[in-house]
């Protein structure tokens, strides 16, 4: 099967749509500047904001002013709508001509922030029993559902074949694209709308600030003087379908999915390894899947956050893959800022635009070369591109690479969906059982519930004798104890003097990556947050990969934790959190 891209949509600090984004890239116009919308006290930090308030975004998205909607969802709606429109025409014309693909679309959208912005704004309200309709939207998966509901209504879509929210921090959107492609290759859907959305939040602005990796000047990826990243926000989506279907309905094909891979660096929660092992593996596996040689790649859109550590580690990985024949490389984060979970979606759209219009985007603000760093392309240049590679790396060493190609690349298919064989299932109920599986030194940054899931995972691995080729976590609320600790501390201390550890441990993917780091597992690593459907999403992922022969075994983790601070909020809507820690090893049937 050849997977065609027939629609793209994007919103970020450099444009509200593809046309504006393209113009900014060609004009080398950055969107990074002074903070106007977020309302943080840290106005000394430059950001890549979408220059519209929530009220203005609602107006643009056609949403009533009083309807509760996270900013992440608003950005997502605007970008997803553009991708659908490009693929199928405007909602009214799409309704007149209804291709079969239209009745079978999966929506896979990565985010980590979800509705954290609403929780920040309404924290006090919640404790006074107000604004309670916003509470469910805190969940990453529910912020995706909000986008899905709006799209289904506007475009008169049939129910989505699957709605899933990969939440692996800054690689989330690329992982969404991978799941979408796998669903197509296994015939589980006719089309898939894939990418990610993320708004700025006080939570992660302050979180990255505690890590001391935010530059107070515009960021300078791969420059000797780089001193950290600037955060940005936005959304980016691609509409993917079988090339045959696209041709049959006369759609314009913008490019193709060539290959992809996700690996774990298995090194540290927030630092990348010196030799870029995870990034090297991700790029190599993506090339291998596409059947391409390194020399076939014309352009690399690097992760290139401009932190001292990322750019050095990514340069090492690029050298290992490409040797002396380095293709043109640039990071577009000096245009958009680091849009975290949305970055893979936004940058995949930028890669598709680059192929479509034959140009290589500039790596802005670069002027000083340094030992060990690759030398990026400093000005936007026009040239035809055959294959481009896009990187997105997240906390926990979650490394993803995607190849987008001008011509179709044949990818293997599976007609039979495998039902994985359950090997062993460990549920941690007794803290006595934790001892022996987690040492005190390992446990010091873990919550009691994290210790239980890590112990369950280790026991499942030990008793099954299986080294899992994938570690996939399903969680409704994510690492809520650490999230709530950081949030409450941030609000109480007025965004000052915050501890980095709770933020570092707060991402949804912390559990899956912690286990990968502790067991030195460089395999596939992912987390889904989709309410009570989280496990369904995780299983859809491993089932697809097993059917395609991409993995032969998997460790599936079900995780949630009881948190009093959040129960006090959830009580308003008759809900509560619960402790879940279950680890299951699956093997492929063949």
């Amino acid at each position: 099967m050849r997977i065609a891209i027939t629609g793209i949509g994007v919103v970020s600090a450099i444009g509200m749509n593809c046309a504006e984004t393209l113009q900014s890239l060609l004009d080398e116009r950055s969107g990074i500047g002074t903070m106007h919308i977020l309302g943080s006290r840290h106005t000394e930090l430059p950001v890549g904001e979408v220059p519209l308030s929530d009220a203005q975004l609602k107006q643009l998205a056609g949403i009533p002013a009083d309807e509760p909607m996270p900013r992440t969802s608003l950005l997502g709606i605007i970008a997803a709508r553009e991708a659908l429109q490009q693929a199928f025409g405007s909602p009214s014309s799409a309704f007149d001509f209804r291709p079969s693909t239209f009745d079978s679309i999966a929506f896979i959208s990565g985010t980590t922030v979800g509705g954290m912005d609403l929780t920040e704004q309404h924290w006090q309200d919640y404790h006074e029993g107000k604004a309670t309709e916003c509470i469910p939207l805190h969940e990453a998966g529910e912020s995706t559902n909000a986008i899905a509901r709006h799209l289904a209504f506007t475009f008169h879509l049939s129910p989505f074949t699957l709605i899933a929210t990969p939440s692996t921090a800054c690689s989330s959107a690329l992982n969404a694209i991978m799941l979408g492609a796998n669903l197509l290759r296994t015939g589980q859907t006719k089309a898939t709308l894939v990418g990610g959305a993320e708004s700025l939040s006080l939570f992660h602005l302050n979180g990255f600030n505690t890590l001391m990796i935010l530059d107070h000047e515009p960021c300078r990826p791969f420059d000797a003087t780089r001193n950290g990243l600037n955060l940005g926000e936005g959304a980016g989506y691609l509409l993917l379908e079988n090339e045959e279907d696209a041709i049959a309905r006369g759609a314009t094909i913008l490019g193709y999915i060539g290959g992809y891979a996700n690996t774990c660096d298995a090194y540290h929660q927030t630092a990348s390894s010196d030799n870029g092992e995870g990034a090297y593996l991700a790029m190599s596996k993506a090339l291998n899947m596409a059947g391409l040689q390194p020399a076939d790649i014309d352009y690399v859109n690097a992760h290139g956050t401009a932190t001292p550590n990322n750019d050095l580690s990514e340069s090492a990985a690029l050298r290992r893959v490409f040797g002396d024949k380095m293709p043109a490389v640039s990071s577009t984060k000096a245009f958009t800022g680091h849009t975290t979970s949305a970055s893979g979606g936004i940058e995949a759209v930028i890669c598709a635009l680059a192929i479509q219009h034959g140009f290589i985007p500039a790596n802005l603000n670069w002027s000083h070369t340094a030992e060990g760093l690759i030398q990026p392309v400093i000005h936007t240049g026009h040239r035809p591109l055959s294959h481009v590679l896009c990187n997105a790396f997240g906390f926990g060493g979650n490394e993803s690479s995607l190849i987008i190609s001008a011509k179709g690349i044949e990818l293997s298919e599976a007609t039979m969906i495998q039902l994985p064989n359950e090997q062993i299932n460990v549920q941690m109920v007794n803290d006595e059982m934790v001892n022996g599986f987690v040492s005190p030194a390992e446990a010091r940054r873990m919550t009691p519930q994290t210790r239980r899931i890590v112990a369950a995972a280790r026991r499942a691995i030990a008793e099954s004798g299986v080294t899992p080729e994938a570690i996939v976590c399903a969680t409704q609320w994510g690492c809520m104890a650490q999230s709530m600790q950081f949030l409450q501390d941030m609000l109480a201390r007025n965004e000052q003097q915050l501890k980095p550890t709770p933020f570092m441990q707060s991402t949804h993917n912390t559990v899956a990556s912690t286990i990968a780091i502790l067991t030195a597992n460089h395999g596939y690593n992912a987390t889904y947050s989709q309410g009570k459907q989280s496990l369904t999403c995780a299983m859809a992922d491993i089932r697809s990969q097993m059917s395609l022969g991409m993995i032969r075994s998997a460790l599936v983790l079900e995780f949630d934790e009881q948190v009093e601070a959040w129960d006090n909020v959830l009580g308003n809507i008759g809900d509560c959190t619960q402790n879940i820690a279950r680890a299951t090893i699956y093997k492929a049937n063949n």
């Binding site: 505690t210 890590l211 001391m212 540290h268 630092a271 550890t501």
Partner: protein, 85 residues
């Protein structure tokens, strides 16, 4: 100075969540990073925050921490000389 060192050890244990350790377990002159307690870059950030919260010392550049956090003694000496509270 000895009193500050004892207090600092307790604060380090709390800041870095060494639940089962006591101040006696930390050698005043042993390296904090590398061998010693096996601390990493996040611990360095926690120690920077500890100095900010407890002693009113702000470090703008995390790289400065390397020399200051060589041992509990060097950290205590730096605090003694630069504390604002």
């Amino acid at each position: 100075m000895e009193q500050l060192i004892e207090q600092l050890k307790q604060q380090i244990i709390e800041a870095l969540n060494f639940e089962d350790m006591t101040p006696e377990d930390i050698n005043t002159d042993a390296p904090l990073f590398g061998e010693g307690l096996g601390l990493d870059s996040i611990d360095a950030l926690e120690l920077i925050m500890l100095m900010d919260r407890e002693y009113g010392i702000k470090l703008a550049d995390p790289k400065q921490g390397k020399a200051i956090f060589a041992s509990v003694r060097t950290m205590a000496e730096y605090i003694q000389a630069n504390r604002t509270k």
